[in-house]
């Protein structure tokens, strides 16, 4: 069998555009799901009964539905229900974000609850308000402690962007599928796709791992 990688080089611009969309979608999803998840985690721990219950229900629901189903539902069913048509990119963004945020909520909750009560008492004894205690004492330590889990969530989020190909978001996976079909070289194109995702994800996970090892002592009380 002859391997021919020339279609990849000939269509590099086409693939590069896909990579750009993948990176954009990944960055937006990571930022939004972390922000939403951290806020949700705070609400899950400190909220009133109604807020806590709502967030718990949301987390349990999202953990019980495949992200693929969420994407397809938001793209195909939501417009029929709500009358609003979201473009494919933003449908994928919304689906991945609300899905991943559920996991971030649980991670944040675990981090906050792992902080020793004495830390809060020490901050109270200085006269800090609840808000100040959360911002200055609890949250920084909690987030450092859960950094390894956040790292896995970030890599899962980046990988999940490939699922956006099912609703024709022109990200890297979709572009690869198109090129593979047109060039009749699926082995080369998809092998190269694996290589591209690896090149994005491997350094990212190593970086977060190193960051954690450097910061870990700051979260130990």
């Amino acid at each position: 069998m002859e391997l021919d990688f020339s279609p990849i080089f000939e269509s590099w611009r086409f693939l590069a555009n896909g990579l750009l969309v993948t990176v954009q979608l990944a960055i937006l999803c990571c930022i939004a799901s972390l922000a939403l998840g951290i806020l949700g985690g705070i609400g899950r721990v400190y909220g009133g009964r109604v807020l806590k219950g709502t967030i718990t229900f949301y987390v349990d629901t999202m953990r019980s539905i495949p992200v693929l189903v969420v994407i397809v539902w938001i793209y195909f069913a939501l417009p029929l229900v709500s009358g609003y048509n979201l473009p494919p990119f933003w449908s994928a963004f919304l689906a991945i974000t609300i899905h991943v945020a559920a996991y971030v909520i649980e991670i944040t909750r675990a981090g906050i609850e792992s902080i020793r009560p004495g830390q809060v008492r020490a901050a109270q004894a200085l006269g800090m308000s609840h808000r100040q205690i959360l911002r200055e004492v609890v949250l920084p330590q909690a987030l450092i402690r859960v950094l390894p889990s956040i790292g896995s969530i970030v890599s899962v989020t980046i990988k999940d962007t490939a699922i956006a190909s099912v609703i024709a978001v022109p990200e890297y996976m979709k572009q690869s599928e198109t090129l593979a079909a047109q060039s009749f070289h699926p082995i080369e194109v998809f092998t190269f796709a694996m290589f591209v995702y690896f090149c994005i994800l491997f350094p990212t996970t190593r970086l977060i791992d190193r960051l954690y090892r450097r910061l870990a002592h700051l979260g130990q009380s």
Binding site: R121, A122, L126, M128, Q132, V137, S221
Partner: protein
């Protein structure tokens, strides 16, 4: 009772800075404090001693409303302790607290730990807070450790940073909750020396302690707790050399104290 006589001489015309009247505290079925009445005067070092679980630490946590009393009244400078969380926050600024387990903030350097109170709570500028923090760390003998994180400090050093952190709020009153109980024997001395210096400056201090030598040497007034009640109070000479109650004698002899 002669402890009453002692108290009258001790109070001599002054108003107490803290006055407890029949204070009660329960945790479920357990009565932690069962009717404690006590006066503390400005500039005094008062040591709370007694067996574990006798209510000493509960007194401290009630005093700065971290864990408010259930019944009874407490007057600070003549006004009753607040009941709302908002007012309690203002109250806590007036009292520095030092904990058994130090409770330094691990994500902050020694200097930042001392600065965090004034900067966050009082809105002091960072420059000003850093200058004050440097002075305080120098005072507790840690001028060379300002940039260390708590993980890189010994227990005794951490506790001295914690004392500096409490002092940074310029409190009227210092509360020490078994400050040396979690320390290695060789670092206890350095913490007690810092506390002795503060006592010599005339600061008002309440110290829950098992260090009887410190209590005898430094305290102006010693209060013996047992089962949530005050069994005896008086000057250290009375408590350690001539205890008036059987229960004080028993407690001290359990510790191997033969004053």
């Amino acid at each position: 009772m002669s402890s009453q006589v002692g108290q009258q001489i001790r109070g001599a015309g002054k108003k107490p800075i803290l006055s407890y009247h029949n204070v009660m505290k329960r945790f479920g079925n357990f009565t932690a404090l069962n009717g404690v009445s006590l006066d503390i005067y400005s500039g005094e070092v008062v040591c709370f001693i007694g067996p574990s679980g006798s209510g000493k630490s509960t007194m401290l946590r009630g005093t700065n409303a971290l864990d408010p009393f259930d019944e009874g009244q407490v007057f600070l400078d003549g006004s009753p302790l607040p009941t709302s969380e908002n007012e309690a926050r203002h109250l806590r600024r007036r009292m520095g607290m030092v904990f058994q387990n130090f409770e330094l903030f691990p994500h902050r350097t020694a200097l930042e730990n001392v600065m965090i109170g004034p900067v966050t709570v009082l809105g002091t500028s960072k420059d000003q807070a850093a200058k004050a923090a440097l002075k305080l760390l120098d005072k507790v003998g840690l001028a060379d450790k300002t940039q260390n994180y708590p993980a890189n400090l010994s227990g005794g050093q951490q506790q001295r940073v914690a004392i500096a952190r409490a002092l940074a709020m310029e409190p009227e009153l210092l509360l020490f909750d078994e400050p040396t109980s979690a320390l290695d024997p060789e670092t206890i001395g350095e913490v007690l020396n810092v506390m002795k210096t503060l006592a010599d400056e005339g600061r008002t201090m309440i110290v829950v302690t098992h260090e009887m030598n410190f209590a005898k040497r430094v305290a102006d007034w010693v209060v013996v707790f047992e089962r949530g009640q005050v069994v005896e109070q008086g000057p250290p000479e009375q408590i350690f050399d001539d205890p008036h109650t059987e229960r004080t004698r028993n407690f001290l002899s359990h510790l191997g104290w033969h004053g």
